[in-house]
């Protein structure tokens, strides 16, 4: 591993097309060390099913119940259950920092162990903080990590904006070599500056998206807020099947933001 990191540094130093900026001032350090409901001064919840399953035909009902979201032993635990609840067949949770933590640019990072199985869709992502006045996709979306439970070694990093959303979004996947994301913790993050967003997993920078890569307006120049959720079903993953094991649990060790 050390050898690998050495090479990575050498490459980044010799690649003169890459903008290197260090975000090393820690401005948000959420380590979930307090047991119980997550810190209400930082996190709010999206409750229910949204419109058309949060726009994606997702199947779960989001709650703030402890069986769906709780912090224990230093981890935020989001659990998807298969249960009839308010007309849905699954429950889970979605946390947002909207109005509580919003920032333009910086390094946004989490360390997670992901759930698994057909139809399981966890994500660590961001939305433009002006979304109430500037509807999606105009507000912009940065998916730092999305994962299909049926594809346990692969994550995706994506941006959505006006003219490049949903199926036309700008996206790249990263495959963990000889390993998978549901058996241990991994770091997912972005380095976001005015003219670029770098996507990384653990020590591996696997993509950079710049204004030249998007076929519409570059909207990643204003504050965004953070979302963490565990969806069940929906257009991106398809529905769970008889082999999908429930409950499914997503463990979040920390969320850190630097500027």
């Amino acid at each position: 591993m050390f050898f690998f990191i050495m090479i990575f540094i050498l490459q980044s130093c010799t690649d003169d097309t890459q903008t290197v900026v260090n975000f090393d001032n820690l401005v948000l350090d959420e380590d979930f060390n307090a047991n119980g409901a997550p810190n209400a001064s930082l996190w709010s919840y999206n409750i229910g099913t949204g419109q058309n399953g949060w726009g994606n035909n997702e199947l779960q009902y989001y709650t703030d119940r402890p069986q769906n979201v709780t912090a224990q032993n230093g981890y935020l635990i989001i659990t998807a259950h298969k249960e009839s609840f308010n007309g849905s067949q699954y429950t889970s949770a979605r946390l947002v920092t909207k109005g509580k933590f919003e920032q333009a640019y910086g390094r946004f990072e989490t360390r997670m162990r992901l759930p698994w199985g057909q139809g399981i869709w966890p994500a660590f992502w961001m939305l433009g903080a002006d979304i109430d006045d500037n509807p999606w996709p105009g507000a912009g979306e940065i998916d730092i990590m999305e994962f299909r439970g049926q594809n346990p070694s692969v994550v995706l990093g994506t941006v959505h904006g006006p003219g490049y959303s949903a199926g036309q979004s700008i996206s790249k996947s990263y495959t963990l070599p000889n390993d998978r994301f549901d058996t241990d913790f991994h770091v997912f993050g972005i380095e976001w500056g005015p003219e670029y967003i770098n996507f990384y997993v653990d020590d591996v920078l696997y993509n950079q998206i710049t204004p030249a890569d998007v076929p519409g307006e570059w909207v990643f120049n204003k504050p965004f807020y953070i979302l963490i959720n565990l969806a069940v079903g929906g257009n991106f993953v398809g529905s769970p099947n008889s082999e999908t094991v429930f409950p499914q649990t997503m463990l979040i060790d920390y969320v850190r933001v630097y500027n």
């Binding site: 346990p152 000889n178 549901d182 082999e243």
Partner: protein
């Protein structure tokens, strides 16, 4: 505790060298790895295997297996084991290979751990579907830490598809550490929670032992795993004990549960045992001249071939069970939920024309009500020796509460002449036990019985 134990042990010398075995992961890349043998199964087509240098996935050669047609005088199926002197496979998590076939097909059994010996760590992937295009297949190792000295590197057994032979090829056969074999979900009885009522002296085999992993492709791959991969626990060792071969021995009365773990993961499925205590066996039948007995089910005589002890006739039959009990080495049939049940012996049928009686021992394992009964019915398939065709005959004899005793063996010696309507005797094929008929509005009267020593004889 740990610290104390450790401090009492003598440390190993720095010079100590543990015996190790080769860790070579390769089985067949372009030829057999050194030391490997090919040993076909008895009855299989001995020349089913060739090294093929034309059809191959990569390199210079692949393994070619020619599955015979039905009726091939060379053998009824293709099958072999690939043993060698023993390897340490603990660094790997799967056996992998590329395969294709001359037609879409389903390989009956393929795996590793078969060494024509103890087969201690046998792994079987059942019904592997292969296609005409080269595809990589993964057989996960249920618990690699067990395979410190494995001799059975690979094995397969495959018969014709719909009567027809075909060819399949396997290439790049090797053990790998994929790192993506995860989310183990072992099972016993294929995940079923079973309840068995039985007696002291009985043995019960823990079957349906499987390990399931989620693969990088998202596929949940299940393999059959031998008992030695599991640890079994009895909640009451004064009632039931389990050995490493997964055989439960009943040693006392009461209730116990057997659970299993595989590499620390609790297996789905369990066995709850209700032991009724000491078992009184049916009377041992007398020694007879073999010419004077045609035995269907008895440990006292040589039995004729039997197709089944419980042909389940859906949807009307409710009866469960069959020849499941082994108590002190004696095989006993147990039926539960009885309404009617048939034992059939039609391949071939039995000529009982020289016999005079049917003998059967029945133990009713419940209280007997005044209206309870068991009807014994015989079926003869007639001159065509097959069911139907207008020549079948049958007859029955009814035994009422006056003939039966609760929880005691009753020995019935029934003259064949009592089976009114049974005109054929040359192609006997069925013995029924019936506890529901028109007189009980088809409601079962007796639901649990034991049966032993079913045979025809003459005095």
């Amino acid at each position: 505790m740990c610290t104390i134990v450790t401090s009492c042990e003598r440390g190993l010398s720095e010079d100590v060298e543990f015996a190790t075995f080769p860790k070579n992961p390769e089985i067949f890349i372009d030829g057999f790895s050194g030391g490997l043998q090919y040993l076909p199964f008895g009855g299989s087509k001995l020349d089913a295997f060739k090294v093929d240098t034309e059809t191959r996935y990569s390199g210079t050669a692949a393994m070619r297996f020619d599955v015979p047609n039905v009726g091939d005088p060379g053998g009824a199926f293709a099958g072999a084991i690939f043993p060698d002197g023993g390897r340490d496979l603990t660094d790997y998590d799967a056996l992998t290979f590329w395969a294709r076939a001359s037609q879409a097909a389903t390989i009956n059994e393929i795996g590793f751990g078969n060494d024509f010996g103890e087969n201690k760590f046998l792994v079987t992937l059942n019904n592997l579907r292969i296609s005409t295009s080269w595809t990589k297949y993964i057989i996960p190792i249920p618990d690699p830490s067990k395979l410190v000295f494995e001799k059975g590197m690979f094995w397969y057994a495959e018969g014709p598809e719909s009567g027809n032979g075909y060819t399949f090829w396997i290439d790049e056969l090797k053990y790998e550490r994929l790192g993506t074999i995860a989310q183990p979900r072992p099972a016993m009885f294929n995940g079923e929670n079973r309840v068995e009522s039985t007696f002291v002296g009985a043995t019960i085999a823990l079957t349906g032992l499987t390990q399931t992993f989620n693969l990088a492709s998202g596929l949940n791959q299940t393999v059959g795993a031998s008992p030695a991969y599991f640890s079994f626990t009895s909640t009451n060792t004064e009632l039931a004990i389990v050995n490493e071969r997964g055989i439960v021995s009943i040693v006392g009365a009461g209730t116990a549960e057997i659970i299993a773990t595989l590499n620390g993961v609790r297996a789905r499925g369990s066995l709850t045992i209700e032991s009724l205590g000491a078992f009184v066996a049916a009377p041992t039948p007398p020694a007879r001249n073999p010419a004077n007995v045609i035995s269907v089910f008895s440990n006292a005589y040589t039995n004729i071939p039997v197709d089944f002890y419980n042909g389940f006739f859906a949807p009307f039959q409710t009866t469960l069970g069959g020849a499941d009990l082994t108590i002190n080495g004696d095989n006993i049939i147990q039926y539960t939920n009885l309404n009617f049940v048939a034992t059939e012996f039609k391949n071939p049928t039995a000529n009982v024309s020289q016999m005079t009686h049917l003998h059967v021992d029945i133990l009713v394992r419940e209280a007997i009500d005044p209206t309870d009964f068991i009807t014994v019915q015989l079926g003869d398939f007639g001159s065509n020796a097959a069911f139907g065709g207008g020549d079948d005959t049958s007859g029955s004899v009814k035994f009422t509460n006056a003939d039966l005793t609760s929880n005691q063996w009753v020995s019935l010696d029934i003259p064949l002449s009592s089976f009114t309507g049974l005109t054929g005797r040359n192609n006997m094929a069925q013995i029924f036990f019936i506890s529901a008929d028109g007189t009980s509005n088809n409601v079962p009267t007796i639901s649990t019985i034991l049966v032993d020593n079913m045979y025809f004889y003459k005095n």
